[in-house]
C-alpha cells in the first residue's frame, strides 16, 4: 500500500483514516458523517487526478488497507474479491485456473474499488463489455456507515435495482465499495494481434468493414500521433487455435489489407495516452470526421496530440500534454473546440486526468443532461454532501 496522501490536488487532508476491516470502515464513516467531516475515499492513489479537485478534505479514508480476499468459483466463472485487491493480483489468481477478468490494466496497481469508481474504458470492452457489464454484484458502505449489497454471485439476476451500475463511474461520491462480484471468461487458447498502418483518409471504409465483419474480434484499436496522416490499426483476435488463422484471413479479405501478426500486444495497447488525457465519445461510424476534426484542431493550435480510439465502441482517448503548458485561455479554447466537435458527432468530451490547475479552471465534465436527477440521487445517498464534494459532474 502506498503511503497516505500528503496532498490531494493541492489540498492537505487534515487527517487520514486507515480502516483495516469493513467494520472499522463503517465506524469511521459513521463518526465522520456524524460530525459533518468532508471525506475523500482513496484506494491506491492511481487516479486521484481524475475529476475535479474536491472542495476540501477533512479526512482521507484509505481503503487500500482493507483485507484482500479473493474467492474464485472457477466452475461458475465468477469471482468475489474485496475492493482493495489490485487488478493484477486478481488476474494472477484467476490465471491459475485458466481464467481472467476481461478488463484491461490501463493503469498499473489500480484497486478493484478504484476501477469500479472510475470505470476506465479499454480495448477488451469491444469483445466482452465494460466494467459495468461484468460487475454482477457489489457490497458498499454508505456514508452513514450502513453496509449494503446489490446484485449477487449469479450472472443472471434481476431482483431489485442494479446499484452496481450506479456506483460504477461515480468517482466515490455515493458510497465506499468494499467488495465486488465479477463475471469471468476463460483465457483464450490463442491470441493474435494484427497490425497495419492506415491512412486517415481511408478510415471510413476500414471502420465500416471492421464493425460489420463477422470475424468477431475481441478488440479493435487505432493509435498514433495526429501530426501524421497515417495511424496504426491493431486488431485482437482470440479463440480456438484452429479458428484464429481462418478469421485473420477473413479479416484481411474484408479489408483488402494484410496484417503483421504478433502474439503480444503493441506497447501502447494497454495504456491511456499522455499525462493530460481527454476522453471523447462519438458515434461509431463518425470516426473519420472525428479524426479529421481533431487533426485540424491540433494543427491550428500546433499541439502534439496522441490518439487512441476503440473502434466499434466509440471511445477515443487523446493525450494532449500541451494543454497543461498552454495559457488557461488557449487550453480552454482547445477544449471548447474538441467539445463542440464531439457534441456534433453525438458524444461528449471530458478531461480524464490533468494537472490540478487545469481541472480547477475548467469543468472536466462539461454540461450534463439529467443533472438535476443526479443531484437528487446524490442527496439521497449523501445528504450532507460529504463524499468528495465537488469532484464529480456539476459540482456533485
Amino acid at each position: 500500500m502506498p503511503s497516505p496522501i500528503a496532498t490531494i490536488d493541492g489540498a492537505t487532508p487534515r487527517a487520514t483514516a486507515t480502516p483495516s476491516s469493513v467494520d472499522e470502515l463503517r465506524t469511521t464513516l459513521q463518526e465522520a458523517s456524524h460530525s459533518g467531516k468532508q471525506l475523500l475515499l482513496a484506494g491506491h492513489h492511481t487516479k486521484m487526478d481524475w475529476g475535479r479537485p474536491p472542495e476540501s478534505v477533512d479526512v482521507a479514508i484509505e481503503l487500500g488497507a482493507l483485507p484482500c480476499e479473493i474467492e474464485h468459483w472457477a466452475d461458475d466463472l465468477v469471482v468475489r474479491a474485496t475492493a482493495s485487491v489490485t487488478l493484477e493480483e486478481l488476474q494472477r489468481e484467476l490465471s491459475t485456473r485458466g481464467q481472467r477478468l476481461c478488463v484491461d490494466t490501463l493503469i498499473p496497481s489500480s484497486t478493484l474499488g478504484g476501477l469500479v469508481a472510475t470505470a476506465p474504458s479499454g480495448p477488451l470492452r469491444y469483445g466482452y463489455g465494460a466494467i459495468r457489464d461484468l460487475l454482477i454484484g457489489v457490497g458498499a458502505v454508505r456514508v452513514d456507515g450502513t453496509l449494503t449489497r446489490s446484485g449477487g454471485r449469479v450472472v443472471k439476476n434481476v431482483a431489485g435495482y442494479d446499484l452496481a451500475k450506479l456506483y460504477t463511474g461515480s468517482y466515490g461520491t455515493l458510497a465506499a465499495v468494499t467488495e465486488v462480484f465479477l463475471r469471468l471468461h476463460a483465457l483464450p487458447e490463442e491470441s493474435q494481434y494484427l497490425t497495419v498502418a492506415v491512412p486517415i483518409d481511408n478510415l471510413g471504409p476500414v471502420v465500416a468493414a471492421l464493425t460489420h465483419s463477422t470475424v468477431a474480434p475481441s478488440a479493435i484499436e487505432l493509435h498514433g500521433p495526429l501530426g501524421e496522416r497515417t495511424l496504426t490499426l491493431s486488431v485482437l483476435i482470440e479463440g480456438l487455435a484452429k479458428g484464429v488463422p481462418i478469421r485473420q484471413a477473413g479479416l484481411e479479405r474484408a479489408l483488402g489489407l494484410s496484417f503483421a501478426t504478433s502474439t503480444s500486444a503493441p506497447d501502447w495497447w494497454s495504456s491511456l495516452p499522455g499525462s493530460t488525457t481527454l476522453k471523447v465519445t462519438h458515434e461509431v461510424a463518425s470516426l473519420p470526421q472525428l479524426v479529421q476534426g481533431l487533426y485540424e484542431i491540433a494543427d491550428r493550435h500546433q499541439i502534439h496530440t496522441e490518439l487512441k480510439d476503440s473502434i466499434g465502441i466509440g471511445v477515443c482517448h487523446l493525450g494532449i500534454d500541451a494543454l497543461a503548458t498552454l495559457t488557461l485561455e488557449s487550453a480552454g479554447q482547445v477544449l471548447g473546440e474538441i467539445r463542440m466537435l464531439a457534441t456534433a458527432l453525438g458524444g461528449s468530451a471530458i478531461i480524464l486526468r490533468a494537472p490540478v490547475a487545469l481541472r480547477t479552471a475548467m469543468d472536466p465534465f462539461g454540461s450534463i443532461p439529467a443533472l438535476d436527477l443526479m443531484r437528487r440521487v446524490k442527496a439521497q445517498f449523501d445528504p450532507q454532501q460529504l463524499l468528495a464534494r465537488g469532484r464529480f459532474v456539476g459540482g456533485i
Binding site: W73, D76, L77, V78, A130, D133, R142, T146, T148, R149, S150, V154, K156, N157, V158, A159, G160, Y161, D162, L163, K165, L166, T168, G169, S170, H185, A186, L187, P188, E189, T211, H212, T214, V215, G239, K242, G243, V244, I246, R247, K279, T281, A285, I313, G314, V315, G346, S348, F365, I368, P369, A370, L371, K378, A379, F381, P383, F392, V393, G394
Partner: protein
C-alpha cells in the same frame, strides 16, 4: 369534484374517449392482469398514448393529483409487474410503436417503447443486423417492457441481457419531466449511470418513451446441437465440461422428461425419442471458431453419456429444435390445466443438488414439476403443475413453488433471473436482501419518485418514506394520507 372526475376531465383534453382513453368497465377488464393471471386488479382508467408528449401530460396530471400510474407494454410479464392500481391509471404503450430509425453504420436503432421485440430484428435483417435479446415471448413482448424487466432470453449466456444492449433512453420521470438518460447512440454519458439504474426498474422510476438499442452483425455461422441424456445430472456434467473448456456457447438449454413430453404434444418438435433429458447447445460466430468448437461440444456430450445426438442440418431443423424449447411454457397446458412458471437462479454448479431437491419436493407433495432451464447460466424455470379444481392443489403448488425459490436463495442464487419481482415476488425480496439493501435501493426510487406514484406496490415489500429532499417540495405522502403509514 373528486379526484377521479378531475383526472378524467383533464385526460379527456388529451385523449379521445373510447380509443385513446378507456373507462368502460368491459374494456378496463382486459387490462386487469399481465401474463400472471392470478393477480388481478381493474384500473380506474386506461390511456393509450402514441406520443411522448401525451405520456408527459398524463404523468404530469397524475403527479398533480397524486394518482398512481402503471406503465404497460404488451402485458406478457410473468411477475404481475404491470398489475394495475385500482384507483390509478394504466398507461398502455402498445400503440406507441414506431421504429424511428435503423442506423446501420452506427449499429443502433431508435424505437418507441411499444415496438415488438422481434419486429426490430425483422426491420434490421436487410442490413444483416439483429437485436440480440430474445425472450421466448419475443413475438409479442414490447421493447419498453424488456427495458423495464431487463429481459433475457436463450442467447443471453453469450450476448447478455437487455441492459447490455441499450445505450440511450428518453424517459418521463414520475414528476412528469421528459429527460434523456444514457448517451444516445454513444456510450459513457458523463455522470451517474442512471440508464443502468432505470433498466430493470420495472416501471417504478418512470416511463420510457424512446429507446436507443445496439444492433449486432449476424454471425457468420450458427450450429445447433440437440443431445439426449439419461438424466439431468449427466446433461449437467456435459454443460460443465463445455463451459470449463472455455467455449462460450450462444445458448445452452435443458429440458427434462416432463417438459419434453409437453413440447412434443404441443408442437411435434421431434426431439430424440425416449430421452429423459435433452440438451440444446448453440454455437455462433466465425465459421472456423464454430466448427472447431462444435467438434468439442459433441465430444463432451458423448463423454458424458449422450445417447442420440444431432446437429441441425439447416435453418428449418434448427427452428424446430427451438420451437420445442420456446413453446415449452405454453405446451405445459397439454399436461396440466394450471401451472406456475418459476424463475429462480442458482450457481450453475449447484444444478445437480438443486434438481435433486426439487424432485424430492415434488415427490413428497405429489405436485408434478417440469423443468426447463437456461442451463448455461443456472436460470431455472420449473413449471409447477396443478389443477385448480382440486381442493388444496393450488395451495400445495404455491408451497412447492415457494420452496423452490427458497432453494435458490439457499444456494446463493436469486429469486428472479429475468421475469422480475413485480407484485408476485415482493415477499421474497426480504429473504434475499437485508432491510438496509432494500432501503438503499429505494433511495434511488426516492430520487426519481418522491410520492411513490410510478407502479407502486412492485419490487419492494414496504415503501420507503422519502422525507424532504433539499430543494424539493411535495405534498403529503399518499401513504400518510391514506393512513397506511406515518411520518416520523
Amino acid at each position: 369534484m373528486n379526484n377521479l372526475a378531475s383526472l378524467l376531465e383533464r385526460l379527456r383534453l388529451i385523449f379521445h374517449e373510447g380509443t385513446g382513453l378507456l373507462t368502460d368497465p368491459a374494456m378496463l377488464r382486459t387490462f386487469e392482469c399481465d401474463g400472471l393471471a392470478h393477480h388481478r386488479v381493474i384500473p380506474a382508467v386506461v390511456v393509450l398514448p402514441t406520443t411522448a408528449e401525451q405520456v408527459e401530460q398524463t404523468i404530469s396530471i397524475c403527479h398533480d393529483l397524486g394518482v398512481p400510474f402503471v406503465a404497460r407494454g404488451n402485458g406478457t410479464g410473468l411477475s404481475a409487474g404491470a398489475l394495475p392500481v385500482a384507483e390509478g391509471v394504466v398507461i398502455s404503450l402498445s400503440r406507441f410503436r414506431r421504429i424511428i430509425e435503423i442506423d446501420a453504420p452506427n449499429m443502433r436503432a431508435v424505437v418507441e417503447p411499444g415496438v415488438i421485440n422481434l419486429d426490430l430484428t425483422k426491420a434490421s435483417v436487410g442490413d444483416d443486423l439483429y437485436y440480440a435479446p430474445d425472450p421466448s415471448s419475443q413475438q409479442v413482448c414490447s421493447i419498453g417492457g424488456n427495458v423495464a424487466e431487463n429481459s433475457g432470453g436463450a442467447h443471453c449466456l453469450k450476448y447478455g441481457f437487455t441492459t447490455h444492449h441499450i445505450t440511450g433512453l428518453e424517459v418521463v420521470t414520475p414528476d412528469g419531466e421528459l429527460i434523456s438518460l444514457g448517451a444516445g447512440k454513444c456510450v459513457d454519458a458523463p455522470g451517474y449511470d442512471l440508464l443502468g439504474a432505470f433498466i430493470g426498474s420495472e416501471g417504478t422510476l418512470g416511463v420510457a418513451t424512446k429507446i436507443t438499442t445496439k444492433l449486432l452483425k449476424r454471425p457468420e455461422l450458427v450450429k445447433t446441437l440437440i443431445a439426449a441424456f439419461d438424466s439431468t445430472t449427466s446433461a449437467g456434467a456435459a454443460v460443465s465440461a463445455i463451459i470449463a473448456s472455455g467455449i462460450l456457447p450462444a445458448a445452452v438449454e435443458m429440458m427434462d422428461a416432463l417438459a419434453i413430453e409437453a413440447a412434443e404434444n404441443a408442437v411435434h418438435c421431434g426431439y430424440p425419442e425416449g430421452a429423459n433429458t435433452v440438451l440444446i447447445v448453440e454455437l455462433d460466430g466465425p465459421e472456423g471458431e464454430v466448427l472447431a468448437g462444435m467438434e468439442r461440444v459433441e465430444a463432451f456430450c458423448r463423454e458424458c453419456g449422450a445417447g442420440e445426438l444431432r446437429i441441425a442440418a439447416d435453418d428449418e431443423e434448427r427452428a424446430l429444435i427451438w420451437k420445442g424449447r420456446k413453446s415449452a411454457f405454453a405446451a405445459i397446458g397439454t399436461l396440466s390445466p394450471d401451472f406456475i412458471v418459476q424463475d429462480g437462479v442458482i450457481p450453475r454448479t449447484s444444478l445437480p443438488q438443486v434438481l435433486a431437491e426439487i424432485a424430492e419436493l415434488s415427490r413428497t407433495s405429489g405436485i408434478r414439476v417440469a423443468n426447463v432451464f437456461h442451463a448455461g447460466d443456472g436460470n431455472l424455470h420449473p413449471l409447477v403443475l396443478f389443477d385448480e379444481r382440486i381442493a388444496g392443489d393450488l395451495e400445495t403448488a404455491n408451497a412447492v413453488s415457494g420452496a423452490i425459490i427458497d432453494l435458490c436463495i439457499k444456494y446463493g442464487g436469486s429469486i428472479t433471473g429475468e421475469h422480475g419481482v413485480g407484485a408476485d415476488k415482493v415477499s421474497y425480496m426480504g429473504k434475499m436482501f437485508t432491510e438496509a439493501d432494500l432501503d438503499t435501493m429505494q433511495m434511488v426510487r426516492c430520487a426519481f419518485d418522491v410520492d411513490n406514484l410510478s407502479n407502486p406496490g412492485k419490487i419492494f415489500p414496504t415503501p420507503r418514506l422519502c422525507g424532504e429532499v433539499p430543494g424539493r417540495h411535495h405534498g403529503v405522502h399518499p401513504l400518510v394520507l391514506s393512513g397506511e403509514a406515518e411520518l416520523f
